[in-house]
């Protein structure tokens, strides 16, 4: 046991090179797994957060809705408020909740426009269930519910069109573009709209929230298919087209499974490559150390003991390298999750603590297994070698 550590410490170059390999291995396994898990969780949370089975929007606004929900491009479109009633009466519809979209030109300091969504607190079933932290009071005028990406805590103020609003509640992180939105009630929205018109955005003046809505979120009764209800609405209500949310996220699901497969392949490739390199490295090292092992035999070490020494060294290299690799991976994956999300352009939500620990465990395990696995052949060779012949070779 002591000999194993002494061997590792007294050969820093060799140990470092092998460590580096197993660090690399654990890092890529951990990083890859975390990315796939995050994407999967992002998709799940997107599905959950859309909340509605069907979303009804004005004709031709379907693509714009996807832009808003999936690409994070703020926008707006409107239809007659009467449609809400018509939709509610469609067969198979259990609940409806209208939303009104408004895009800010700039939020406070920043050049990025923010999507402002007006909702009806009384009928809403897609925003309020996700409030993470709030006053515990009903939403007042000039108060907003902020998505997780809005850099303001509850009680702080935000400015839109020079109108100050208070953050009354914050939503849970979804890892999707919904994190960038701000939700208000109808009155606050009217105030903001007024402020926008005052600032010269006269085009918005005709979009009276009392007469218009942007979208209607629809919950489908049990026993009805969202697909049927959506087509029913599209066919029967003029100028309205309805989208089955399942279909909307299916595009994302497809690219996600593509990325999952790629990452999986990459992990396997890295693993195989590391295994091969490590196996070669171990067998070279063993060749170089033949004499050392022969001496151990001379003083009475069994064949098993030699094999155990080789396997033990490999095991500790795997264990230590795995731990370092996961640590380095964690430093990349957790603090920079926002950057990864932005680069991937897909819903991305860091997995729960448990799932992350699972991924970390799997990564350490993969490198711990890699050590003995790759040195097994060398260990067998060491234990089989003919001591007498090696000692002769030495001279």
């Amino acid at each position: 046991m002591k000999l194993i550590f002494k061997n590792l410490i007294k050969r820093p170059g060799r140990t470092a090179a092998l460590l580096l390999l197993s660090v690399f291995l654990a890092f890529s396994v951990f990083g890859g797994t975390m990315t796939v898990l995050s994407l999967r969780r992002g998709l799940e949370s997107l599905e959950a957060r859309l909340g509605a089975d069907v979303i009804a929007v004005p004709d031709k606004a379907k693509n714009k809705l996807e832009d808003i929900l999936l690409q994070g491009v703020p926008g707006y479109f409107y239809m007659d408020k009467e449609n809400v009633e018509k939709i509610a009466q469609t067969e198979g519809v259990e609940a409806v909740s209208p939303q009104y979209f408004l895009a800010s030109v700039s939020a406070g300091c920043c050049s990025v426009p923010v999507q402002i969504i007006g909702f009806e607190p009384s009928t809403d079933f897609s925003v309020q269930p996700w409030i993470k932290q709030s006053y515990g009071k009903e939403l007042q005028n000039d108060e907003v519910v902020a998505g997780a990406n809005i850099n303001a805590e509850v009680g702080e103020h935000l400015r839109f069109y020079d109108q100050s609003v208070k953050v009354a509640a914050k939503l849970d992180k979804t890892g999707t573009e919904l994190d960038n939105a701000v939700y208000t009630n109808a009155d606050t929205l009217k105030d903001l709209l007024g402020a926008a018109v005052d600032k010269g955005l006269v085009v918005l003046a005709k979009n009276d929230p009392d007469k218009l809505v942007s979208s209607v979120l629809i919950k489908v009764k049990d026993g009805y298919s969202a697909e049927d209800v959506a087509s029913d609405i599209s066919v029967n209500i003029r100028h309205v087209s309805a989208v089955n949310t399942k279909n909307m996220v299916s595009g994302i699901a497809r690219s996600l499974s593509g990325i999952s497969d790629m990452t999986g392949l990459m992990i396997i490739a890295v693993w195989m490559l590391s295994l091969i390199v490590m196996a070669i490295a171990f067998s070279m090292i063993i060749n170089e150390r033949k004499r050392e092992f022969a001496v151990l035999r001379v003083i009475g070490a069994t064949r098993g003991r030699l094999a155990a020494t080789v396997l033990g060294e490999a095991f500790f290299i795997g264990l230590i390298g795995g731990a370092i690799g996961v640590l380095a991976g964690a430093l990349a994956v957790f603090p920079f999750s926002g950057l990864i999300e932005a680069k991937l352009g897909l819903p991305y939500l860091t997995p729960s603590f448990g799932a992350s620990m699972g991924a970390a465990g799997a990564a350490v395990l993969s490198s711990v297994i890699a050590g003995p696995l790759t040195s097994a052949l060398s260990a067998v060779r060491v234990s089989r070698m003919d001591t007498g012949l090696i000692l002769r070779e030495g001279n």
């Binding site: 410490i9 007294k10 151990l296 001379v298 003083i299 009475g300 070490a301 001591t387 001279n395």
Partner: protein, 226 residues
């Protein structure tokens, strides 16, 4: 303790020919007795190292047996043979044989620590041994800081640590100057006088003066001179 070779031989296959082999050691009977220093002289390549390795249980003979006090050592399994060698046979192999990641003292104690927990007794004995072989000041040095002679003496101390009944030394004086050669030979002679059966294999003539019995190895054939 008595180590006996009965009809022992070893042949090797030549690398380039299938059935083409040669005898490194011809069929030989040989006895190594307690308290005696036995010297085998021979040129390099004469088969003397092969002979020694077979006696040490490190190289299985092609024919014949090696008996240690009536036990056929090659009939034992690896575990018991290793254990037996650890306890009863001290081997001083050719060349530099210390483990480079351990200090001199750790190297000397290694045979004990393979099968036992560290103890103060063994620390003391190991310290005495390196004193005896004259490298006591180097206890905490590493083997690569030692000269050839010092390394050889380390190997002797290591071989003596378990107070084995048999001591087998393969060219222990190779590459050493006269003074060191004399020291090493005296150490081996002392061991024999203390009751150990010592076999010394060498190509140097100086050793003959210390021998209780003297053999000559030539082309794998062993013949007694004294």
């Amino acid at each position: 303790m008595i180590l006996k070779a009965e009809g022992m031989s070893r042949r090797f296959f030549r690398k380039n020919g299938g059935a083409n082999f040669f005898y490194a050691v011809q069929k030989t009977d040989f006895t190594l007795e307690a308290g005696k220093l036995c010297v085998i002289m021979g040129r390099s390549g004469s088969g003397k190292s092969t002979f020694l390795n077979m006696l040490a249980g490190l190289l299985e003979p092609s024919e014949g047996r090696v008996m240690l006090d009536n036990t056929d050592i090659y009939a034992m399994d690896d575990k018991s043979l290793s254990r037996m060698r650890n306890k009863n046979i001290g081997v001083i192999p050719q060349g530099q044989t210390a483990l480079s990641s351990l200090t001199v003292l750790e190297n000397v104690k290694l045979p004990y620590l393979l099968y036992n927990k560290p103890s103060e007794k063994i620390d003391k004995y190991a310290a005495e041994l390196i004193e005896t072989v004259g490298i006591s000041t180097l206890g905490n040095s590493y083997p690569n800081e030692l000269s050839g002679g010092e390394n050889r003496r380390l190997a002797i101390a290591r071989a003596l640590l378990m107070q084995p009944g048999i001591l087998l030394a393969d060219e222990p004086t190779g590459d050493l100057d006269d003074e060191n050669t004399k020291k090493v030979l005296e150490l081996l002679k002392n061991a024999a006088q203390n009751g150990t059966a010592v076999l010394l294999v060498t190509h140097e003539n100086d050793a003959a003066n210390f021998a209780d019995s003297l053999y000559k190895m030539d082309g794998g054939v062993l013949s007694q001179i004294k």
